[in-house]
């Protein structure tokens, strides 16, 4: 017995309103500020990091010598550290922050990470951290007026094809009479147009963080397309998002393999799966990918 069709799939037997609500929900994103802030907190609470670590920011630096086997500190410790450094940062005591970090056994890199986090928290409330308006989304004027969150993001990647609604995944645009459904602080990733060769991202900036975000958004759209039974669009999006040395290389490859397999291109999926297994021998995806390599 197979799974039933999903409500958002073609023939999924969902009402128009159900589809709108679900489509909006699956395309809601967290804010980038929250993602950065949580990363800083995670970094602070991880086991000691060697002097070569990037110490936070976009995390794009070299290997910090993270052991991966030490006990994690837990959220309470991290939150406490963040709070303490927020207080230090608010008084402008950057030197004190590093000094205190040294005295308490924290590395300087982690202390700097705390400082970055403190700076983030100092200007950001918890609610403000939660959700964001995604790049490339046209926000109705009435929502723009009510949006309280200041624009703090760098130039964002733009989606080339966001206008048309996909049959299997309707765009979460709401008629004027229903705009009250949409909260002003939600973020939306427009679905891909099935079969659209132009469904790929423009990269308006060379900034690594922006490129990573753009790639991730593309991969999420590809996943949506694959879920909606459109492996061709998924593959186009995956290939369009390809970047050399990307931190999302494994995710991209897994998605490409799944899309190739779903498209009936088994030989290509097999070749790519074998390549993946040799490229990423310690990947947590290994046992998932191996099924495609046989």
């Amino acid at each position: 017995m197979s799974d039933p069709k999903r409500l958002l799939e073609a023939g999924g037997n969902a009402s128009e309103l159900e589809r709108e609500l679900l489509a909006r929900e699956i395309t809601t994103l967290p804010s980038e500020k929250l993602e950065q802030a949580v990363w800083q907190r995670v970094l602070v609470a991880l086991p000691p990091i060697g002097p070569g670590s990037p110490g936070g920011g976009n995390g794009a630096g070299g290997d910090g010598g993270l052991s991966g086997t030490g006990a994690a500190g837990g959220s309470t410790g991290g939150a406490a550290a963040g709070g303490a450094s927020a207080a230090a940062a608010s008084t402008g005591a950057g030197g004190v922050l590093v000094g205190a970090a040294k005295a308490s056994g924290l590395g300087v890199a982690k202390a700097l990470a705390i400082g970055v986090f403190a700076g983030t928290v100092a200007v950001t409330g918890a609610a403000e951290l939660s959700e964001r308006v995604a790049p490339g989304v046209t926000v109705p004027a009435d929502r723009r007026e009510s949006a309280a969150e200041p624009v703090l993001e760098p130039p964002a990647p733009r989606l080339r094809s966001a206008a048309a609604a996909a049959p299997s995944l309707p765009a979460p645009t709401l008629p004027a009479s229903r705009r009250s459904f949409a909260r002003s602080d939600e973020a939306i990733v427009p679905p891909a147009q099935p079969g659209s060769a132009s469904a790929r991202f423009e990269m308006p900036t060379s900034d690594l963080a922006s490129r990573t975000r753009a790639e991730r958004l593309a991969l999420e759209r590809a996943r949506q397309a694959l879920r909606g039974g459109d492996p061709g669009t998924a593959l186009t999006l995956v290939e369009g998002a390809s970047q050399t040395g990307s931190v999302l290389a494994q995710e991209r490859e897994v998605l490409a393999i799944e899309a190739l397999s779903a498209a009936g291109r088994s030989a290509e999926a097999r070749t790519r799966a074998r390549s993946f297994m040799s490229r990423f021998p310690g990947s947590p995806h290994q046992n998932h990918v191996v099924q495609f390599a046989r």
Partner: protein, 169 residues
């Protein structure tokens, strides 16, 4: 695992963890702590991850356990947004209620979890069965009930007197 590798893992799965936690019922002000804990646990356990299933099902289990632990610690705290008809009757603004998430939060947890994993995250019945350690038949029966509950909750909202404009949807 190097910091680069873990950063890549974080980048790849942060959105998933955020979606799962908020759909489980985490409040906005809880999310930073819960997300931090999820990724610390994931970092600690990643070396033990044997890859028998998908990373997402494994990470979902961590999210679920972290959320439940937080709920046990703060048992007096209600779920993020109580989207029951009683709340609506108490005069909440309709625009705050009518979202899939709000409707989902009114479902029993076991139905909500199956619904969010199947309908919103695209996991298969087998994958959900593995993540929850239940038979796939149970997944499907919970999904059927969840859909009924979801539709019933939506109908309740759209039948409210102030929702007259939405009746014919």
């Amino acid at each position: 695992m190097s910091l680069d590798d873990f950063r890549a893992f974080y980048e790849a799965h942060f959105h998933f963890a955020w979606r799962v936690l908020r759909r489980l019922g985490a409040r906005d002000d809880e999310l930073p702590d819960l997300l931090q804990e999820v990724f610390l646990v994931a970092h600690r356990k990643l070396p033990e991850f044997e890859g028998r299933g998908r990373v997402t099902t494994w990470l979902f289990s961590i999210c679920h356990n972290v959320f439940r632990s937080a709920r046990r610690r703060r048992r007096e705290q209600p779920l993020a947004e109580d989207a029951t008809s009683e709340t609506i009757a108490a005069g909440r603004a309709r625009e705050d209620v009518l979202s899939a998430r709000e409707l989902l939060l009114g479902l029993p947890e076991e139905q909500r979890i199956v619904f969010l994993l199947f309908e919103l995250e695209g996991l298969s019945g087998d994958e959900i069965a593995e993540a929850l350690s239940i038979p796939v038949g149970t997944v499907r029966s919970r999904l059927r009930l969840a859909r009924e509950s979801f539709r019933s909750a939506l109908e309740t909202v759209t039948r409210e007197p102030t929702g007259a404009g939405y009746r014919n949807v």
